[in-house]
């Protein structure tokens, strides 16, 4: 469509600049004998990092944690995406929103909510079950590896959902119809036709969740550390925290293994989806996704989905609201209900720093996601449609910053930005956010791109359309579900971004997540929960606006 080599090179330069700079600084830091990126050369940090006797056990825990989280998130996303896009389940709109709610919640708060629900001493759900069934001991213990996997899987569910749902909705019905004509049941068609064709989206979601959970710190620190279960990110933290002179160079040395794992996963993904023609479902023949009639199964399935959504997602949010009304952490009791007030809300809404944070985060969410999504469209185009060695490099580059554990990459950006005039400004945050979370835009858009046959662009060109006209009138309208997903993922991520912000934000550029962290470090769970709910509310509004706008744009283009 465009002059492909020029486009690929330009994008490699832009994306490479954005993501390589902090990684190079971290690489330098990992070989520096000093606390900063430039110091006397040493390999001692690598030697110490990889000869630690605990490292093998930590790697095994990490494999189980990331793999388990990817499994939970992807299976749940597949189920929810299927019922939401392909069936006549009632009140689907609600479930569509519920599936992406965890994306809007600060991870530390979601983890704490689950601790309040399922800790073995006095977790509310555990107590309820003990009272109901006369049990002597708690049924569940959140401070275990399965507990960590459940919570991380739920937190990453929106990533998986927002990648799989657009692919599911763009599915060409004729493939399934052919299967049914040949006598296959709905289930067999799903297993033999639908899921195999969705392989790029399923793999993309699993890989993204693995990479994200590899970098995750909230769940491993809030749930894993009390259970004495260490994964890579908490192992890095333990290395940094043991001593006052935190050595981020050594942390970077450990983080290099996460980077290597992520790049390997990207190449595995490219190999497994290399025959892209297999996954095309939108060609010049036209398509229309069909709804499967659930008939008698409609309401039982509604109850199942509703119950799952309530237990897994709504209940933790309700715990947040409950906490926001209390002066301190309390289990539900008559005393707790008597002490409820709006004091935390008043405190947060009258705090000038919280209000400034709100304004800055909103700006970063809207502007950052818009720039990030635009860049992602071009990058996805090259990754999917060019498929050369250079496009493989571009894809790997886009994952570089994303692959590093959060507590490390923020320092990499600080080491880089401090040498530029934008250090301490909101632009530094904006660039850091886009560079780090580019895969959130690229993955859903790429998954949607994979399904569009190049015949469509070729036909447009044959009719005399310019590349831009073809992009605007043919490709982008078909990509709108993917673009909306990418924008939502980026905007809600930027609204609650913590790991970079905590290092880069300065007076005047405070953001919501840093304010939340400050409340968390002071143990002020009431104001923290209130601010968290405000964050969820703002994200929800943005999501609804994006979804409605996406729907309108799709319709307009179809009418034109």
């Amino acid at each position: 469509m465009f002059k492909k080599p020029t486009l690929t090179t330009t994008l490699i330069v832009i994306v490479g600049f954005l993501t390589l700079c902090p990684v190079i600084m971290l690489l330098l830091g990992s070989f520096s004998a000093d606390f900063v990126s430039f110091g006397q050369f040493t390999t001692i940090k690598y030697v110490e990092a990889y000869t630690d006797p605990d490292f093998a056990a930590i790697l095994w825990n990490t494999v189980l944690f990331t793999g388990g989280s990817a499994l939970v998130a992807t299976l749940l996303a597949l189920f929810l995406a299927y019922v939401n896009t392909r069936t006549d389940l009632p009140f689907k709109f609600i479930f569509k929103v519920i599936a992406i709610v965890p994306m809007m919640i600060p991870h530390i708060l979601f983890s704490v909510s689950w601790v309040l629900l399922l800790n073995p001493s006095n977790g509310t759900l555990n107590r309820l079950l003990m009272d109901l069934f006369g049990l002597k001991e708690a049924l569940f213990d959140i401070y275990t590896l399965p507990g960590m996997i459940l919570v991380e899987g739920l937190l990453d569910l929106p990533i998986a959902y927002l990648i799989i749902a657009p692919a599911m909705s763009a599915f060409d019905v004729s493939l399934e119809e052919s299967s049914k004509v040949c006598g296959a049941s709905n289930l067999r068609t799903l297993m033999k036709v639908t899921l195999p064709v969705l392989r790029p989206a399923i793999l993309a979601s699993a890989i993204l969740v693995i990479v994200r959970s590899l970098a995750s710190f909230a769940v491993p620190s809030v749930i894993g550390m009390p259970g004495r279960i260490y994964v890579l990110s908490t192992h890095i933290y333990r290395n940094i925290a043991t001593g006052f002179a935190a050595d981020f160079g050594k942390a970077a040395a450990i983080g290099m293994s996460a980077l290597a794992a992520s790049i390997t996963l990207i190449y595995v993904y490219r190999y497994l989806t290399s025959e892209s023609g297999k996954f095309v479902t939108i060609s010049s023949r036209g398509f229309k996704p069909t709804m499967i009639k659930l008939k008698k199964g409609k309401y039982p399935l509604f109850i199942v989905v509703g119950f799952l959504s309530f237990i897994l997602i709504l209940l933790p949010v309700m715990v947040l609201f409950y906490t926001s009304m209390l002066p301190y952490s309390m289990v539900p009791s008559a005393k707790a209900f008597a002490m409820m007030s709006w004091d935390n809300w008043t405190e947060v809404l009258s705090d000038p720093i919280s209000l400034l944070s709100l304004k800055n985060s909103l700006f970063l969410g809207v502007v950052g996601a818009t720039i990030g999504t635009t860049l992602s469209i071009f990058v996805s185009y090259v990754i999917v449609k060019v498929r050369s060695t250079a496009s493989g490099i571009l894809e790997s580059l886009s994952f570089l910053s994303f692959s590093f554990p959060g507590i490390v990459i923020g320092v990499g950006f600080m080491w880089f930005f401090v040498r530029t005039p934008i250090y301490g400004t909101i632009t530094a945050l904006l660039i850091g956010y886009i560079a780090t979370y580019l895969p959130y835009g690229i993955r859903p858009i790429s998954s949607a791109f994979v399904q569009i046959h190049s015949h469509l662009e070729e036909s447009s060109r044959v009719c005399g359309a310019t590349p831009f006209y073809t992009m605007r009138r043919i490709v982008i309208p078909l990509l709108i579900p993917g673009i909306v997903s990418g924008w939502i993922l980026m905007a809600s991520m930027f609204l609650r971004e913590l790991t970079l912000s905590v290092v880069l934000s300065r007076p005047g550029t405070e953001v919501l997540a840093v304010q939340i962290l400050n409340f968390a470090e002071d143990g002020l769970w009431g104001p923290l929960s209130a601010l968290g709910i405000i964050m969820i509310f703002i994200s929800s509004i943005l999501v609804i606006i994006a979804a409605v706008l996406g729907k309108k744009l799709s319709k307009m283009e179809v009418m034109n």
Partner: protein
């Protein structure tokens, strides 16, 4: 395509002006101590142009300050952190010499250094939930924490990785709280046998105690003030230990006189009174105590600054004791 990319870059650059304005003339105060807004507000109400508080967590403090310093972009005019960090900063040439007259009444050991003035102690104590622990069960000695009745009922920062907790445990050995090393080791093993829940630092210790998930913990008495009306109280052992907190003027302060003025204010009885009464901090200004029952009479001792090598070495030892299966 090119137009589109130029547009993108322009948008990013335009954003550069947004929020970039920083009141450069104000005193920049980098601190790891939290909840000090009342003191900054009080300073700003009586001093022009005032001060800006930049909060930096302990784990990122040194990395941030040294990165900015080595790039010639350290924004801080005044720095505050635990003493071991301040000592590293002094070694690296980040701090300027300054002896404040406002520290005149402070203990001699707190003002021996020519750059760093120690103004408080990050004091640690057994904290309990007074709604859930009966008065007769409240520990009165550290040894009481090893009583099996507290099995699975305690919370503390990870003694294998949290630097302040490691220093505190070593400080108990050096202060001979248990008489001899054998007594100290018996305490450690007894504490470990009670399987305390580990969290990453002191910050998350009060929440499980106030919610009743745990009833007792090794935490900080300041939370009794900052988390009121949570049912928290401290077990009145006879000696408390903690890492000293230091403050100093930055070597490259944009206005050294203004920075010194801020340090003088910080060390004044008025500011220390605010720090004690509103934040619950233990301060070294004579006659100033946090409004916590019994704190004015308890012996509070500063612990020795351990080097990072010592902290790592002790961390490994404590891992063997506390992580034993």
């Amino acid at each position: 395509m090119k137009k589109m990319l130029v547009l993108l870059l322009s948008l990013v650059l335009i954003c550069g002006s947004f929020g970039a304005a920083l009141a450069a003339e104000k005193i920049n105060f980098y601190a790891n101590i939290t909840a000090i807004e009342p003191i900054i507000d009080d300073f700003n109400s009586s001093h022009t142009p005032g001060a800006i508080y930049t909060r930096i967590s302990t784990s990122k403090y040194l990395a941030t300050v040294l990165t900015e310093f080595s790039a010639g972009k350290l924004r801080a005019d005044v720095l505050q952190s635990p003493l071991p960090i301040m000592q590293i900063l002094k070694e690296k040439g980040v701090l300027a010499p300054y002896k404040s007259a406002a520290a005149a009444g402070y203990p001699t050991w707190a003002q021996e250094d020519d750059s760093i003035i120690q103004f408080g102690i990050e004091y640690v104590a057994p904290i309990y939930n007074k709604d859930l622990v009966k008065p007769e069960d409240v520990p009165t000695r550290y040894e009481d924490l090893t009583d099996p009745k507290w099995y699975n009922k305690m919370v503390m920062p990870d003694p294998a990785s949290h630097a302040t907790t490691i220093s505190w445990l070593v400080g108990m050995k050096e202060a001979k709280i248990f008489g001899d090393d054998a007594g100290w080791m018996k305490f450690l093993k007894g504490l470990a046998a009670n399987k305390p829940m580990f969290v990453k630092s002191f910050g998350p210790t009060p929440a499980p105690i106030e919610s009743g998930e745990k009833v007792l913990g090794i935490s900080m008495p300041k939370y009794i003030i900052s988390k009121a009306p949570a049912p928290l109280a401290w077990a009145k052992v006879d000696t408390l230990l903690g890492t000293p907190r230091g403050i100093a003027v930055a070597a490259n302060a944009s206005d050294p006189k203004a920075a010194q003025e801020f340090v003088d204010y910080w060390l004044s009885k008025n500011a220390m009174q605010l720090l004690a009464s509103q934040v619950g901090e233990y301060v070294l200004a004579p006659g100033v105590f946090p409004p916590i029952d019994g704190i004015s009479t308890v012996k509070v001792l500063p612990i020795r600054s351990l080097s990072d090598d010592e902290i790592r070495s002790w961390g490994k030892e404590f891992r063997k004791i506390f992580y034993e299966k």
